[in-house]
């Protein structure tokens, strides 16, 4: 791209905000009452993780693996890609993430569940925001409730909830499980920013928060908090 410095963020926006938000309205209408079921599944997975229940890893991997694949196909490729050709290239990343989530759940020791520390509380908050606050954001933004973004149905709450639970759990697979959700947050956050939508900062704030919490958990000793006793 020549003279790239002359381009503004909104030069890359291919569609109007109205067209974008109507995608969610159509998605919800086509899948109703599935949004209720996906939200319930997300909350159930969160409870399994919080209580470190037997099968928590499998339950989390199953729920998150399925919703990533479902959102990648039903929303990104079937709907969003019709107005944003770049999304056709991003859709496969959701399938890769689905496989990674499933793989982490099935591989013993890939993820560990411990008592919540400060980072875990932040992750829990993020997951709850994705599951319970995202659907009512249209009311605050003056949009119809019918275009609510719901976990397991729309990408942004699905991705934010995933980052939230990955902040709660531990394990060596986090390094491969986090990049795709974080990159999506940047992509979607910049898209919303180009549309002058305030909730862009939720998406752009998630990677910044994750990075900051990562430093707290894995950074230099002087910023790390003591590991809670299991």
């Amino acid at each position: 791209m020549s003279e790239w410095w002359t381009y503004r963020l909104d030069d890359f926006l291919l569609f109007s905000p109205r067209t974008y938000w109507r995608l969610f309205e159509a998605q919800n209408a086509a899948l109703w009452p599935l949004p209720l079921a996906t939200t319930a599944a997300g909350l159930a997975a969160l409870l399994l993780i919080l209580f470190r229940a037997p099968g928590a890893s499998l339950g989390m991997g199953l729920v998150f693996g399925v919703v990533w694949a479902f959102v990648g196909y039903s929303f990104l490729l079937e709907r969003y890609a019709t107005i944003n050709w770049a999304v056709a290239y991003l859709g496969p990343a959701f399938f890769i993430q689905a496989l990674l989530m499933g793989g982490a759940a099935l591989r013993a020791g890939a993820l560990a569940f411990r008592r919540l520390d400060g980072v875990g509380v932040a992750g829990l908050t993020l997951a709850l925001v994705a599951l319970l606050v995202f659907p009512v954001l249209p009311l605050a933004a003056g949009r119809p409730f019918a275009c609510a973004e719901v976990f397991g149905i729309a990408p942004d709450p699905t991705v934010i909830a995933t980052i939230g639970v990955l902040l709660i759990v531990r394990g060596g697979w986090l390094a491969v499980l986090l990049p795709i959700p974080l990159l999506w947050c940047v992509f979607s956050g910049l898209t919303l920013l180009a549309m002058d939508e305030t909730q862009a900062w939720l998406l752009l704030g998630a990677p910044a928060l994750t990075f900051g919490l990562g430093v707290v958990r894995f950074g230099p000793r002087w910023v790390r908090r003591p590991e809670p006793r299991v």
């Binding site: 020549s2 002359t6 030069d11 291919l14 569609f15 109007s16 067209t19 995608l23 107005i83 050709w85």
Partner: protein, 305 residues
């Protein structure tokens, strides 16, 4: 025309949008300002219809019907040139669907683009674009934002020589790469140049518009309202008393009057999703145009707001 369930649904959707269109405007309209394409002497209405963002509505049937209603109003008001690009998402398919629904493929002046870095992919992209529009051939094909321009211009010239295309062109926007545009205009036999021009983006006046007039190249003006940002900003300000002298009853008409009053400009292609805006835009090309002094007054006034 084959009647299918889809066509019936589309016609019904269009019918639902029709109350937005006053009947008198659908069936009777003042003739818009006409301009001449220098390469051929062909006359063309000075207001066209852009599709960037506004027609990229995907599979949304309601929004597709609204786009078709915009096209219906555009043709009813005497408009002809519709401009799109492979870069514009679903816009090409929406235009094609609208043309089929309205049965106006014969009325449209089809202005399209080739947009790919690969010289080899250009012809295949053009075939796909033609399929989406549902036309036998394009009136105008332009190299979008000069992407792979040398190879694509060769392709377009060959198509024109073979009678599979009427006009060739290049595009740029927002003042980018004017040096290269000037070089191409001097060295290659293009029929059209598309660029951005309005009362606050006047860089084209220095070299490109005079050169286009000198070399007999038609000029299409994109982003006349800076993608709506200019008219949104001006909406907060009162229209000056002297706007009537420029034949304008709105900021959009004042801006279009400024643009069309430059003698090198052939067609301006504002994009909109609203039927009333289409009528307003075409009406801008039906009245008096500002003279040189009034042009400067318009630019100074808008620039100061």
């Amino acid at each position: 025309m084959t009647i299918t369930r889809r066509r019936l649904l589309e016609t019904a959707a269009l019918g639902a949008a029709m109350p937005l269109l006053p009947a008198t405007r659908l069936f009777a309209q003042d003739a818009p300002l006409m301009r001449t394409i220098p390469a051929s002497g062909e006359a063309i209405p000075a207001i066209g219809l852009g599709t960037w963002i506004t027609f990229n509505v995907g599979d949304d049937r309601q929004l597709q019907a609204e786009c078709t209603a915009v096209m219906a109003a555009f043709f009813a008001a005497g408009g002809r040139m519709i401009d799109s690009s492979p870069m514009y998402g679903s816009s090409q398919a929406v235009v094609g669907r609208g043309l089929a629904t309205l049965d106006r493929r014969d009325a449209v002046f089809s202005a399209e683009k080739v947009w790919t870095t690969s010289a080899a992919n250009g012809p295949a992209q053009i075939v796909q674009t033609r399929r989406l529009w549902g036309v036998d051939r394009f009136d105008l094909l332009q190299v979008h934002n000069l992407l792979g321009w040398e190879a694509h211009l060769d392709t377009l010239q060959a198509m024109k020589a073979a009678g599979r295309l009427r006009y060739t062109g290049i595009t740029t926007s927002e003042g980018r790469r004017h040096d290269l545009v000037e070089t191409i205009m001097r060295r290659h036999p293009i029929d059209f140049l598309q660029l951005s021009y309005n009362p606050v983006d006047r860089d084209a006046e220095r070299r490109l518009l005079p050169l286009a007039a000198e070399r007999g190249i038609a000029v299409i003006i994109n982003r006349p309202f800076r993608q709506g940002a200019l008219t949104r900003r001006l909406a907060r300000e009162p229209l000056p008393d002297w706007a009537g002298a420029a034949g304008a009853t709105s900021w959009a008409q004042l801006i279009l009057g400024f643009i069309l009053s430059h003698p090198a400009v052939t067609v301006a292609i504002p994009a909109t999703t609203r039927v009333d805006h289409v009528r307003e835009n075409l009406a801008a090309a039906g009245g008096v145009l500002p003279d040189r002094a009034l042009r400067e007054r318009i630019a100074a006034h808008i620039g100061a707001l």
